[in-house]
């Protein structure tokens, strides 16, 4: 009885059902994509830990960029 009464109270229009369904599915897509981003970040953190343990400076991990900076003097010094 109470259940039927409540169902009547919260009876929604078709467009409201449509909105609820699509918002739920968009949320699912967002959470799924977010878990992938979290896993990527976790790998990044672990990679930094490995680099630290073998003595690589994270800021100098890009060898080419480091070499390029050494070869080309800073504009301010020219």
């Amino acid at each position: 009885m109470l259940k039927n009464h409540l169902m009547e109270e919260i009876k929604m229009e078709g467009t409201n059902y449509l909105t609820v369904a699509y918002l739920g599915m968009i949320t699912a897509l967002a959470i799924w994509t977010w878990t992938v981003v979290v896993r990527s970040r976790s790998i990044e953190t672990r990679l930094e830990a490995v680099e630290l343990s073998i003595g690589i400076d994270v800021a100098q991990a890009d060898d080419i960029a480091t070499q390029s900076n050494v070869d080309t003097p800073d504009e301010a010094t020219l």
Partner: protein, 234 residues
């Protein structure tokens, strides 16, 4: 360029999914007011059917990966298994959620426990949930992978059962609207076109997602191996 293929799949798939939503809400014709209790809610199916289709692809990938790991001990197979479970869970939840909301609008109840298709698909989604949560809570090892792979192998039985359920025991869930086998289809051409765009887009999207997931799993494995080597493990 080759490394960006998964991102391209993901991006094109996402654009297609959003286009499907736009066309489904604004361009596709309404269904007959007499045929449905809630004609507006029928537009849910432009994502509901493609996400179910994508879930079946994901469960197929899960089965293939489980078999490759279980019988061949293939690392590639394990990566397929991981990607398939994640994609199967996401698409399965989307299908179940949208189906429940449509059921509430059309039937007056979100779930019918006597309908075979609803229950077998619900079990498939629960299986994917178990595999994802189980893998996160258990330490990775041969026994763990064997256990989860065997669940992936046996669970696949539910896929053909779900597919034929509405043909054999149609109770509440609508029958197939395309490829029904009786030569008739209840779908207008413009509705079928939106549905086709949706199915293609969801397919591209989950392929992209699964390729990225496999790449991440591979990187995780390599990192773990490197960390073990540094710690003097092997």
């Amino acid at each position: 360029m080759r490394r960006q293929i998964p991102e391209m799949f993901l991006g094109v798939g996402f654009v297609g999914i959003m286009t499907t939503l736009f066309l489904g809400l604004n361009w596709a014709p309404s269904v007959s007011i007499d045929a449905f209790e809630s004609p507006a809610a029928q537009r849910i199916f432009y994502w509901h059917v493609p996400s179910a289709w994508a879930a079946f692809i994901a469960f197929g990938v899960l089965f293939t990966g489980s078999a490759l790991w279980f019988f061949k001990r293939s690392p590639f197979g394990w990566r397929l298994h991981v990607a398939g479970t994640e994609a199967g869970l996401a698409c399965g939840l989307m299908t179940v959620w949208s189906g429940c909301v449509w059921g509430a609008a059309e039937w007056g109840t979100p779930w019918d426990w006597t309908d075979v298709r609803l229950n077998t698909f619900g079990l498939l989604t629960l299986l994917a949930l178990f595999l994802v949560l189980g893998r996160q809570s258990q330490p990775d090892g041969v026994e763990t992978r064997d256990t989860f792979s065997s669940f992936g192998l046996y669970g696949f039985v539910l896929v053909p059962l779900t597919y034929i359920a509405t043909r054999i025991w149609q109770i509440r869930h609508p029958g197939p609207v395309i490829g029904a086998g009786d030569g008739g289809g209840s779908l207008q051409s413009s509705m079928a076109l939106v549905l086709l765009i949706g199915a293609l887009s969801f397919t591209l999207f989950i392929i992209g997602h699964m390729m990225i997931s496999m790449r991440i799993t591979h990187l995780e494995q390599r990192l773990e191996h490197a960390q073990k080597s540094l710690d003097g493990g092997n």
